[in-house]
């Protein structure tokens, strides 16, 4: 039976193998990579200080504060969902840690752990409401965004009596927590902030999960076609809720860094940052509709952001131009992504 069905086709009849180049061009992050290289050469040419190791370390630090969140947001976007509450959720996490420890006069580490629980809880709630109501994640997380913004301001004033959290610099556990979340390491005479290493570590772990574990397979599947995934037995709800919690985890890390880099947090901060994370993911080649993208792409997106942000300063331009620049990068990168993807798939 089988023998009669097998068509004796010559191996090259249908174009044979794809060349390694078109294989590479088929990767989601290739557009962003080209953009990053162009931008790097551009700033290296117009701002000589840009190439100094110290400035490069600053660029990396700037990238990492976006990149850490971009890891979670990229995974979530590949899983087919949005989170608009990420910017303020970072501040909520920082406020939880500082206000709780300050009000109850406990060791800061208690607050840090509570903040982790709260951050994961916010993620869980986002995901759970989404799965229960089947509303678009845009609406659900927009609601969370507004509620958290209000809670951040309201609770901070109610408990601390101001718009910023009280200073925690003299409290127990401050130095050790600062050493974990906001220290620097000197490499070859250059001081590199630890967030850079945390960022790289997160990207590596996320890439591994995405490409080599079954959970990664499920993330692509729930983003690519939720119904098909459900029909073959993928736990869609658990996967999506887990993704929102992963975003919560990233928000916790960044929130703790924001808190311990100084000793207080402004309760009104964070608004608007959610778009930076989403932009980083999109520049990095994550498809807005889900099912396609990579963690590395989000990291390159964040790096582009960091270069543009600091590069403008090193080039001694007015930083007013930064947003224009970012918008242009977003447009160009997505067009390049689209173009490259089509070309690669045709081959």
């Amino acid at each position: 039976m089988t023998a009669t069905l097998t068509r004796p086709t010559p191996p090259d009849e249908r174009l044979g193998k794809r060349s390694p180049l078109s294989r590479l061009l088929g990767r989601p992050e290739v557009g962003a990579l080209v953009g990053a290289i162009v931008l790097f050469i551009f700033f290296a040419a117009v701002a000589p200080t840009f190439l100094q190791p110290a400035s490069f370390a600053t660029v990396l630090y700037g990238s990492s504060t976006i990149g850490i969140m971009a890891v979670g947001v990229s995974l979530l976007m590949i899983g087919g969902e949005f989170d608009l509450s990420t910017g303020v959720a970072v501040i909520s996490s920082a406020l939880t840690a500082s206000m709780f420890s300050w009000y109850f006069s406990v060791n800061l580490w208690v607050g840090v752990l509570l903040a982790l629980v709260v951050s994961l809880g916010i993620g869980f709630l986002n995901g759970w409401i989404l799965m229960k109501t089947k509303l678009p994640s845009f609406i659900v997380t927009l609601a969370t965004f507004l509620m958290l913004t209000g809670l951040n301001l309201g609770l901070t004033r109610m408990i601390g009596g101001g718009v910023s959290s009280p200073s925690i610099a003299s409290m127990d556990g401050y130095d050790s927590a600062r050493a974990v979340f906001s220290a620097s390491t000197t490499i070859g005479g250059v001081e590199v902030r630890n967030t850079v290493f945390i960022w790289i570590l997160l990207v590596v772990v996320a890439s591994w999960v995405l490409l080599r574990t079954k959970v990664g397979n499920w993330i692509f599947a729930v983003g690519g076609d939720e119904n098909a995934a459900r029909a073959v037995g993928v736990p869609v709800k658990a996967t999506k809720i887990g993704l929102f919690m992963a975003v919560g985890f990233c928000a916790w890390i960044l929130g703790m860094h924001n808190l311990f880099a100084f000793d207080a947090v402004q309760s009104g901060e964070g608004v608007g940052n959610e778009f930076l994370y989403i932009i980083a993911a999109v520049i990095g080649g994550c498809l807005l509709t889900g099912g396609y993208g990579s963690a590395v792409g989000g990291a390159i997106g964040a790096f582009i952001f960091g270069m543009a942000n600091k590069g403008i300063v090193y080039a001694q331009w007015n930083p007013d131009w930064f947003k224009f620049f970012l918008g242009l990068m977003l447009l160009l990168a997505t067009i390049v992504n689209l173009f490259v993807k089509r070309r690669a798939e045709l081959k």
Binding site: M1, T2, L5, T6, R7, T9, R14, L15, G16, K17, R18, W208, R212, T213, K214, G216, N217, W218, F220, A221, G224, D225, N227, A228, A229, R230, A231, V232, G233, V234, L287, G291, Y292, E345
Partner: protein
């Protein structure tokens, strides 16, 4: 992991019991009914699926075909009647439960995730893993090899299992889904309108895979609105109309003409022919269908 050798052994064991083939069907539905709120979607439907046999479910749009397969595939639960798997009364709570019971459904649109590579789709939801603890990972190499082998066994020769499955033709995609179900030890294969969106040639390819799955000892439920596709491959035919069974035949008791005529519903067709004639259409073609003389597959489609 539930791989094909296990499934086959189980089938052999069942055969070894020396029962006559029809005594305990793989699946048996008796007077099954289902309503959504106050809408009665299915009433008093009975059918059986045996191993190595193809049971065709025929009906026009809205006849209740999808409701019926959703019950069998575990997406919905029936309200009335009995649903037995290997003689045991069951109520399936999820597609996962149905899969564990050996029932695999291949849907027309949602068989696969288009942007994912073929091998990822093949093992989606049943990934092979290696390593332990936090280093538990997918066995990518083995999964790719098995995918290639299984598809080759089905007679599909692919350039590259790494390409997105969305790039395959509709027929090839159906076949990947069928090969997947067979590999994971399905005993009952539900095919939801596998030929509806396909051209003549592609349909022929899919029909051949249906026969191949049957010859491997699977019980196949083939859902279609095209009697010309159902008749050559089917052993039994269940005809549905407006949620009710209007006929359940063995192949020896029925002809293609009977099926075609019953499917299109005699009285409704006469009315349609009349209307079309008034509008200046070719009502005579409809009359031909009614008389059971039409033998093109397309005539029937146009009436849908």
């Amino acid at each position: 992991m539930n791989s094909r050798p296990v499934g086959q052994q189980e089938l052999l064991r069942n055969e070894g019991n020396g029962r006559p083939q029809d005594s305990v069907p793989l699946l048996a539905l008796e007077n099954v009914g289902k309503h959504y709120g106050n809408i009665q979607a299915l009433t008093d439907v009975s059918m059986a699926v045996d191993k190595g046999r193809v049971t065709c479910v025929l009906g026009d749009n809205g006849a209740g075909k999808s409701t019926l397969i959703k019950i069998i595939a575990g997406l919905h639960q029936h309200d009335d009647g009995s649903f037995r798997i290997l003689g045991e009364e069951r109520r399936l709570g999820s597609p996962r439960e149905a899969l564990d019971a050996g029932i695999a459904a291949v849907y027309q649109d949602l068989a696969v995730v288009p942007l994912m590579p073929i091998w990822r789709n093949f093992f989606l939801g049943s990934e092979l893993t290696t390593g332990r603890g936090p280093f538990r990972r997918m066995d990518v190499q083995r999964m790719k090899e098995i995918t290639k082998q299984e598809l080759a066994d089905m007679g599909i020769d692919l350039r590259d299992v790494e390409q997105p499955i969305g790039q395959l033709s509709g027929g090839e995609r159906q076949c990947v889904a069928i090969a997947r179900a067979v590999h994971f030890g399905a005993k009952v294969l539900i095919l939801d309108e596998p030929t509806a969106a396909l051209g003549v040639k592609q349909s022929g390819v899919v029909l051949r895979y249906i026969l191949q799955a049957r010859d491997r000892g699977l019980g196949v439920i083939f859902i279609t609105h095209n009697p010309h596709h159902a008749f050559p491959v089917g052993d039994r035919f269940l005809l549905l109309n407006r949620g009710r069974s209007i006929g359940y035949y063995d192949k020896k008791d029925v002809t293609l003409e009977d099926l075609t005529a019953q499917m299109s519903g005699g009285a409704e067709l006469a009315e349609l022919a009349h209307e079309l004639e008034q509008l200046g259409g070719h009502g005579d073609v409809v009359h031909q269908v009614q008389a059971g003389r039409a033998d093109t597959t397309t005539t029937n489609r146009q009436l849908d």
